[in-house]
Symmetry: C2
DNA sequence: ATTATGTATTATGTATTACATATTATATTT
DNA sequence: AAATATAATATGTAATACATAATACATAAT
């Protein structure tokens, strides 16, 4: 039995000690408190000094735990008023993290695919909620793209596809996809570049997608969208095989 | 013009002063530093005291800014070693936020729909990556569900649908959907309860979905899934109309 | 010479105290 | 009664000191 194996064997008998810091404990206690007291959105929470006394720790620790909760958007503090529970923004912090340099290849690929999944999956909600005025809007957007040459022009993509989610009336998705797009572009650009002549012959433009929306149904929309995104699908499938 | 309107009018001319706290500024500066220095995953960042001196603020402020970055998973600190940049977990903090009580009806609905969208949109990736062994796995899961009576049995749903995402080989989605499911269940349960006899006649079970996967293609899968999720689609469309 | 143990150093974690500052409520002035 | 000054309050910031865990280095034992 090697030294390392010996250590592991010992570990299985003793189990390593996990040392939760005071801040960790306070954070947990605070979350428990909110739950126990059934505090809602907008309700005030105890003052820092009250928390110090109640938990028997320094204000430093209390404040660090509170800072964490503020960071995830669970509470808000006003200079004299104290602190209140807030409706947290699920996408908070995401904008700071969704940057190519700090994410692994793996995660970037995951996000790339997530956008593809969303574009395809939105169809049902889109058709359930679309109104005539929305189609007019989409057509207006098309006009501004008249000489739409490039395969992936950020601004165009953001506006057009963003509008799709707006029509589907899901605000979280609207915001999420707008955060996703820069990542998508990055992964796209980094991947194997296609020469112009390699562009798929039957490339589906936004205009064709609008047509599918106007005259078709969920399946037709998806068929158009799938072809619009074809090279991206091809690319991610190729990439994922390389990562394996 | 009311007093309030007057104030608003004045505001449009003057624009309120936004007062970034020291911590805010330090946080921004830190992020800039990481970018400027092109720091990567695992790289060490300056010591707290060095940062204090460099920026001319107290360690209190530095530490509060650092706590924020730790909270979103951007850096990690070791007791004597100092701090390093880490690959942030995009889903960090989400588990603390994805709780019915602290989210608005609107956001809950958004999340409910997001799951529906993902289940439908995953089809392409699923079929691009599925292997024979995966189908066997799915069938094994079916066996454990043999007397699958309920419309939405958390554990079954989590295992079956989770496996779908695993097959699609997107780890972030796997984890995301597992966090999403409790929310989904909550929204589902809260909504109008269906009596047994109201259950759709042609309710599609997991078994039928597996069949669609085994013998079909993306469209067939989606058709099955759409019918499997039909009452949920119906419900969310009804709900959203109520919210308008 | 090698291994185990003791020691010093280092950087983060926690505690304490003090003061600054913005907001609210109260008191005062006109 | 309305405008203004004042006090009280709770968070934001600063400074200092010490605790503690991890590492490197020195030392002693075999």
């Amino acid at each position: 039995m090697s030294k390392r194996e010996g250590a592991r064997n010992l570990q299985s008998k003793l189990r390593p000690i996990i040392n939760y810091s005071l801040t960790d404990q306070v954070e947990t206690k605070l979350l428990e408190l909110f739950k126990k007291e059934d505090l809602r959105n907008g309700d005030a929470i105890p003052k820092e000094n009250e928390l110090c006394e109640a938990m028997g720790v320094s204000r430093t620790v209390i404040r660090e735990a509170l800072t964490r909760l503020k960071t995830i958007g669970l509470i808000e503090s006003k200079k004299n008023k104290g602190m209140i529970l807030t409706e947290p923004d699920l996408l908070i912090g995401l904008d700071k993290l969704l940057q190519p340099k700090i994410l692994s290849e793996e995660t970037l690929q995951d996000m790339f695919e997530m956008r593809l999944v969303l574009e395809m999956g939105i169809a049902e909600l889109l058709f359930a909620r679309i109104k005539p005025a929305d189609i007019a809007d989409l057509k207006a957007i098309l006009k501004t793209e008249k000489d739409y040459p490039a395969l992936f022009e950020m601004d165009f993509e953001a506006r057009f596809h963003g509008r799709i989610y707006e029509i589907a009336r899901n605000n979280t998705l609207v915001r999420f996809q707008s955060m996703l797009l820069p990542i998508f572009k990055y992964v796209h650009d980094k991947g194997l570049k296609l020469k112009d002549e390699e562009l798929p012959k039957n490339y589906v433009t936004h205009a064709l997608i609008v047509k599918a929306i106007e005259t078709g149904n969920a399946e037709k929309y998806r068929d158009a969208m799938k072809r619009h995104l074809k090279i991206h699908f091809d690319k991610t499938i190729k990439m994922r095989k390389l990562l394996e």
